[in-house]
């Protein structure tokens, strides 16, 4: 037997404890990955975009609810570096009902300019036809899929901010040509909105395409300067800053999430430390024997630390790897949930039943008693059944949309490389930290004291 296999054997010496510890570490680390991924989604939603699109948002400096005059368009176009622009007016309104799953972004835009500004989207061949029809809606393919719409379908948006109801007909579909381009919005010609209102030569905001990323800052400043001290001052910023301003509104999300993450990290540390402390204390005498046999302090320390690392890395691989595999794939996630639910639903009653059944008169349980049969075959039956149902759930949900599944909260939850790295580092750190004190104690242990110790 060599040192590595000795370490593995030591770790598995109390398999129940090791499995319990690995599972708790895995669950907690999966939690950390979820929290990190949500945080990343909040603060950096377009990180997966291949290249930065130099796009600026210009809106009213004072309030989101105030519009800008339509005359600003011509003035903004005169700024050097501005390539194209479209108005974007948030229509809001109600589609079907107020449920979260029926909410999606809908904007009145300059339809003929929209795709020049949103270059990550490409409309299909029906787009020219849509341009010709005032009440046409152009819809992202992800949205089409979510609601099962077809070209030609009619949609009614009941107005809330604007006191009009819009009757739209889907005429064209656009798709994203970049993994980070979420084609999940609906746009229509703003002129249709103006006509329905019978007024308004105003725009909610302007989205502006700039010639190159280097010019973005200068263009922002020039646009703001253009309208300074006017009745409607402008705030111009990059699209990313614009999106972040909405995240800011939620409050101190960063602080909340980082405190939650540190609580989780700390609690894993406690759990792992208590396991390591128990494991090493139980083996005090063996460690003394090892030392007697001539193992050096360093080797003993290393062996203890390696054992701690083994446990926490196993938990890390299970937790981080599992989250990485399952989170972005709703069918897998649902299958896993179904598996655990069925396992619990069958396993727990079986266990209880087995416990409650009376024992035979000797006080022992014979190999053929109902109880031992339950305990012997119960887990297997539960596992097989749970796997079958999980498989079914997986098959049936192959096309599930995360968005709908989460009630509209999460568009998608990709686990990014940096999150995986973070999770692994946490596991590594926990491994070292949890075994540090037991290792120190083991190294300092005097052989005689160790041999004298009773259990």
């Amino acid at each position: 037997m060599n040192t590595p296999s000795f370490i593995v054997k030591s770790a598995l010496r109390n398999p129940r404890r090791t499995i319990l510890t690995i599972t708790s570490i895995a669950v907690s680390l999966a939690m950390i990955v979820v929290l990190q991924s949500v945080l990343k989604l909040f603060f950096d939603p377009t990180a997966e975009r291949k290249e930065t699109i130099p796009r600026i948002v210009a809106r009213h400096r004072v309030s989101l609810t105030l519009d800008l005059p339509i005359t600003y368009e011509a003035k903004i176009r005169t700024v050097d570096g501005v390539q194209d622009l479209t108005t974007m007016s948030w229509f809001g309104g109600i589609y079907k009902d107020e449920k979260l799953e029926n909410q999606f972004p809908r904007f009145g835009v300059d339809l003929d300019d929209f795709f020049k500004v949103f270059t990550e989207f490409t409309p299909d061949e029906n787009f020219q036809q849509a341009l010709a029809e005032r009440s046409a809606a152009v819809v992202g393919d992800q949205l089409m899929k979510r609601y099962g719409w077809k070209v030609g379908d009619r949609i009614t948006l009941k107005g809330d901010i604007y006191p009009v109801d819009l009757e739209l007909t889907i005429r064209s579909v656009f798709s994203g040509n970049d993994p980070a381009a979420n084609a999940d919005i609906l746009v229509f010609d703003k002129k249709y909105l103006d006509e329905s209102l019978g007024e308004t030569q105003r725009a909610g905001s302007y989205f502006i395409m700039v010639r190159s990323p280097k010019e973005v800052e200068r263009v922002c400043q020039e646009i703001e300067a253009l309208f300074r001290n006017s009745d409607a001052e402008v705030r111009a910023e990059t699209e990313k800053a614009f999106q972040l301003s909405f995240v800011e509104m939620l409050g101190n999300i960063k602080l909340l999430f980082s405190s939650l993450i540190s609580v989780v990290v700390f609690s894993i540390l406690l759990i792992a430390s208590s396991t390591m402390a128990m494991a090493i204390r139980e083996r005090t005498r063996e460690i003394a024997v090892l030392k007697t046999l001539g193992f050096s302090r360093e080797t003993v320390t290393l062996m203890v630390v390696a054992e701690g690392m083994l446990v926490s890395l196993a938990g890390g691989i299970l937790g981080v790897g599992g989250a990485w595999l399952v989170l972005p794939r709703p069918p897998l996630f649902l299958a896993l949930a179904a598996f655990l639910a069925v396992l619990a639903a069958i396993g727990l009653p079986t266990l209880l039943l087995a416990i409650l059944l009376p024992e035979d008169e000797t006080g022992r349980t014979g190999p053929n008693s109902v109880r031992s049969i339950l305990l012997k075959y119960g887990p297997w039956v539960a596992t097989v059944l749970a796997s079958l149902i999980a498989g079914m759930v997986f098959y049936l949900n192959l096309n599930t949309d995360w968005f709908k599944f989460s009630g509209g909260i999460l568009p998608f939850l990709n686990v990014r490389t940096e999150t995986v790295v973070f999770g692994s580092l946490v596991a590594l750190g926990i491994g070292i930290a949890s075994s540090a004190i037991p290792a120190w104690n083991a190294a300092r242990l005097r052989v005689l004291d160790g041999l004298r110790t009773i259990g």
Binding site: R16, R17, L20, T21, T23, S24, I25, V27, S28, A30, M31, R61, V62, S63, L64, T65, L66, G92, I94, E98, K158, G159, D160, I161, P163, D231, A232, R235, S245, E248, M249, L250, G251, N252, L260, V263, V264, F266, S267, I268, L270, I271, S273, S274, T275, A277, M278, R281, E282, I355, G363, R364, I409, G455
Partner: protein
């Protein structure tokens, strides 16, 4: 016969080094649970405390909040003399036209968010008797002046009495500060409605706030308004119900709190299990002795369950203590109904602490069950042989 509690308590204290790690792990989970729920609790309280049971908010039909509602002056003229509306000492109806303006403001803690600048009418303050002016004076109609809620004054930059805030085109001076307790109004700025409407270039109001004569006339008043032919498209809602419906904003925090606690409790349960298994493994001899003395299997099962619950309750108490400093810490978030910032504080109630304790006891019960069962089912002979 039951085994004396002292046996368990002393045993938990005997191995304090390892058990304290477990106790601490449980404490963390409970503290997280209590803190997250107290956050949701604070937000909910500030919304459920808002509003007067006799007040009715009148908005446009189809509008979901004052922010996206618009009602016209002509409608106000029609409804303000409804017989169900209460009158003040001068026999004027307690009714006010109000406007909600959403303004981007800088937080003192960094970042910016939306604040409500509410245009108020002559009767607005009388309609909200729970609000008191604590500093300065109310704004005079026609002047560019504002009063600020105490929470808003603490939360936003340039929001102290005497300071000035530029709204759309004009500098507004803050001339007073009011205290609205824990209500949503405490996060608002108030100014003369007509002046603010000019400033924000609008001709319509967001809502009318009216007071019913008595509790019995609230429903008839709402009916009368909704069926009024001269002012169509109006919708009346009890002010209390209007704010209560917004407590939905606290749902994500609650969900996050419960979800995290449940997931983390898996870790805590396993930690408790490990501790109990280890402690029982070291005591199989004692268990056998207890059996020989005549204690039944059931009392051994219960004895170890109690030990586990006691261990975790210690964690629960510690967790409750750990969470206490968060009580009253002020924070804020966006209320998605109004799309504006609402300030509130972590609010730890005795009830929440009790939930925390119950949660920790539950962790102990689940975590201790299997180890206790194992201890109770050991046969005397094999236990005595083991050590």
């Amino acid at each position: 016969m039951a085994i004396p509690l002292k046996y368990n308590i002393r045993h938990v204290l005997l191995r304090w080094r390892t058990t304290s790690l477990t106790i601490f792990a449980v404490a963390l989970v409970v503290a997280m649970f209590v803190c997250m729920l107290s956050l949701a609790n604070g937000l909910e309280t500030s919304l459920t405390d808002s509003g007067n049971p006799l007040n009715v908010v009148v908005m446009r039909k189809g509008a979901t909040s004052e922010t996206n509602s618009s009602v016209e002056r002509s409608a106000f003229t029609v409804i303000q003399y409804a017989p169900e509306i209460a009158r003040d000492a001068e026999d004027q109806p307690l009714a006010a036209k109000e406007t909600i303006n959403i303004v981007i403001m800088k937080r003192r803690t960094g970042g910016s968010t939306n604040a409500i600048v509410r245009g108020i009418d002559a009767q607005s303050l009388a309609l909200r008797p729970e609000i008191t002016l604590v500093e300065g004076r109310m704004p005079k109609p026609g002047l560019t002046e504002l009063v600020v809620g105490t929470a808003a004054s603490k939360r936003f930059e340039n929001a102290q009495v005497g300071q000035k805030i530029k709204l759309v085109k004009t500098q507004y001076e803050i001339v007073g500060r009011f205290d609205a307790g824990q209500t949503a109004f405490n996060s608002e700025f108030w100014g003369d409605v007509e002046g603010l409407n000019r400033e924000f270039d609008r001709t319509v109001y967001s809502s009318f706030l009216i007071r019913a004569r008595d509790a019995a006339s609230v429903e008839p008043l709402i009916k009368a308004i909704e069926s009024n032919q001269q002012a169509p498209n109006l919708r009346g809602q009890k002010e209390v119900a209007y704010y209560k419906a917004q407590t939905i904003s606290a749902a994500p925090i609650k969900f996050l709190g419960v979800f995290l606690s449940v997931v983390m409790s898996v870790g805590a349960v396993f930690a408790a299990m490990n501790t109990l298994y280890a402690s029982i493994a070291g005591r199989s001899w004692e268990v056998a002795t207890l059996r020989i003395l005549g204690f039944s299997r059931t009392s051994i099962l219960i004895c170890f369950l109690i030990e586990s619950v006691f261990l975790c309750l210690l964690g629960g108490v510690l967790g409750g203590l750990l969470s206490l400093p968060m009580n009253g810490v002020a924070t804020g978030t966006t209320n998605f109904a109004s799309f504006a910032e609402i300030a509130f504080a972590f609010q730890i109630t005795p009830m929440l602490l009790l939930y925390g304790l119950l949660f920790s006891a539950f962790i102990g019960l689940v975590g201790g069950f299997l180890p206790a069962l194992q201890a109770s089912r050991q046969t005397i002979i094999s236990s005595l042989r083991e050590s």
